[in-house]
Symmetry: C2
Subunit: 444 residues, 2 copies
Amino acid sequence: MSRTLHLNVFIHGRGHHEAAWRHPRAGSAPLTDIGFYEQIAAIAERGRFDSVFFADHLAIGSEVRHAARGALEPLTLLAALARATEHIGLIATASSTYTEPYNLARQFASIDHISGGRAGWNIVTSWLKATSANFGDSAQLGHDERYDRAFEYLDVVTKLWDSWADDAHVDDRHSGTYVDADRVRAIRHSGRYYQVAGALNVPRSPQGRPLLVQAGSSDKGRQFAATYAEAVFTAHLEKATAVEFSTDLKARAAALGRDPGHVLVLPGLSPAIGSTEAEAAALWDELNALTVPEVGLGHLSARFGGADLSHLSLDERLSPGDLPDPANVEGAQSRAELIHRLVASERPTLRALLHKLAGGRGHYITAGTPEQIADVIEDWFRSGAADGFNVMPPILPAVLTDFVEQVVPILQRRGLFRREYTESTLRGHYGLSRPENRFFPAGR
Amino acid sequence: MSRTLHLNVFIHGRGHHEAAWRHPRAGSAPLTDIGFYEQIAAIAERGRFDSVFFADHLAIGSEVRHAARGALEPLTLLAALARATEHIGLIATASSTYTEPYNLARQFASIDHISGGRAGWNIVTSWLKATSANFGDSAQLGHDERYDRAFEYLDVVTKLWDSWADDAHVDDRHSGTYVDADRVRAIRHSGRYYQVAGALNVPRSPQGRPLLVQAGSSDKGRQFAATYAEAVFTAHLEKATAVEFSTDLKARAAALGRDPGHVLVLPGLSPAIGSTEAEAAALWDELNALTVPEVGLGHLSARFGGADLSHLSLDERLSPGDLPDPANVEGAQSRAELIHRLVASERPTLRALLHKLAGGRGHYITAGTPEQIADVIEDWFRSGAADGFNVMPPILPAVLTDFVEQVVPILQRRGLFRREYTESTLRGHYGLSRPENRFFPAGR
Ligand SMILES: Cc1cc2nc3c(=O)[nH]c(=O)nc-3n(C[C@H](O)[C@H](O)[C@H](O)COP(=O)(O)O)c2cc1C
Ligand SMILES: Cc1cc2nc3c(=O)[nH]c(=O)nc-3n(C[C@H](O)[C@H](O)[C@H](O)COP(=O)(O)O)c2cc1C
């Protein structure tokens, strides 16, 4: 079959459920232990996953009291993992708002070299207020301005990644020519937000540039993804909205002249796996019983730009009016909207809402037998909701192991998923080609 | 003996001589090949070196035509090397001028975790004009302002590294307390140049913070080193100036209330090693014959703030008036002064000066038998010129291998250098203790 399913594992704390760290199946390694991540990456590689992925927020809040936070920094982590893995793609989040483009372009190029072409960048504009306060940005740039800057930022870094022709490195001892300087180009970028002379001080990397991944869902976020992203993470509580999202995103990409097949949509999926559906579902109950409402409330508040939600009581039913209007949120608009819709349609108690978000933070969570999980995956895949999944194991590495040992073989038997790696780069795994160099096209 | 010699290897291109890449003893791996650095680090670890070190300039210039430039980025490189080595310290250069303090503090803390306490930061303020042009800094901040910012920068990052008490991570599943939030502190830094709320989002690292290394030699640079540095790289063409430098630096540290024994001075030493002195010296001639004057001239010009030197002819004797006054140089003042002094005392031809700088770029270069090299090391060490050396092999890895196989055993026999690693951290190798946490002192 021509269309292949893609699987990424999203690594987060000791698992995606916010209370995972307290569960008996969770390991006890600190989040600063590189061995913990190496173990997870090895399991994912055994399962022939396309990639591992690390989110990132440039701040830490009081939720650390009761939630597993405070981990390794994603880019240094990726570089270390590059040497402990052989095949799997390595995707890290980095902020276009709070990192200099020259530094970011260079670190990703370097990781792409170190990993032999397995680097990916999840581009975020950073929505947390607490982050801006760590970067002298006292007022916090607004949502739309962060994206305006991100567009120019991508223009800068993609130029930097193209500033060396692939054949620039001549290394001719005899003539004394190390680099053909005509094949390295100062980018001389001078824009509204950035002035960067270039060239980059790292030769063009195996993939040309890292795989570009994005995860924003607001109107601006989608337009940005349609312009630049090759893979898109997205959060949906139901298949219908995922289909709508994917259809919209691909249409936007097509309108920009891109092949919509080269923008892969990967909704989040947080599965509990058991030998019966009831056994699987019990895991969510166990985990929910370990939550501390304070953490969920803090998270919910952050989603709504730091709104004070302390007047709400845990066991009364919510109505949408209890939460701020998503349109006024300067943080992560799309997630705020999604929560609003859920409250409008289900009218959950605050406690039930927090449980729902504690598991998947707005992503699709499910429980079932391996066959049932595979059915969901196949259904979403075939109905245009997903080109693959951002697998978010509620407990790490335990539920990733379950998934690799129990679900992956079914997907393989159904011909949906690879049995062996057939490509050596992250782009290769996702079926994407190496981008042409804009300054030095192949035919010269 | 109580005072021990320290050895760091400075890894640069295919060796420190600018034409090293053309020499038959140089390897052919590209500078983007992580295997090349792993090989060098393994040799250094076999030689029981304290550390490896990478310089960094956030730009690339036309010298790349004839000089080996365009390598991996140092922090990602360090993270990868952390997993390929076991004992040796890992020092990378990063700029306080062009990197956000929150990002830098975090990446070094992360590398310190990944390496189990082997990270070091060579703090530079970035003197190359070409660098500023990659960071929207069109006028380039002046020399002294870069240092003023650096002082505040160090205040910020050292606070961030102390923002978690060592015992903050409680990880108590039973009570649901992951972190004791009273033991994590927002630093609330609000200064002239930086506003950073904190806390860091990485727990305190094995060494508390990376080893702080510095390499500036101007008056401001020395005062900065005396305030913050624990190890200092420095360039000298003769023992006398090294003694003067070390004496001055330690006096400054003592005047600030620091133990001068905790500021280790490591002059650069670029040795050619042979079975006779003549055989060793021949290596310099071979290398000098491979140089391209354009590269040396470009480098010399950069040292003098980009001055035009094209009117000078290669084979006429120079006088100090041919070069700009170092006091007016906004780049690297100390190195400009050193070159000035050399020209005044030796009156070399431009070609001879370029050859001298091609080898060690202003550092001490020598040629001799292993015994002779060991004699120089012992002499400088005993006479207060050096606490150890920044070994700069003219060809990498070839001359590092010579050094490890031929010179290190002599130093060990003389009781000057360790035979086995006795400590597990970089600070441990250098005989330095773990810094106390300023916010959370040991007795609480
Ligand atoms: C799977 C997934 C992972 C994300 N990871 C991050 C992250 O690590 N850091 C971050 O700042 N935002 C992250 N986001 C949020 C988005 O990237 C985006 O910044 C946010 O939703 C605001 O954009 P929007 O208003 O366009 O939705 C993530 C979103 C998704 C779906
Ligand atoms: C061994 C050694 C290595 C250095 N490495 C760097 C470097 O990697 N990047 C850099 O910008 N400067 C480097 N320098 C220069 C100094 O750190 C310093 O920035 C420069 O000399 C200007 O400071 P000064 O005017 O106080 O001397 C190095 C100096 C020495 C001695």
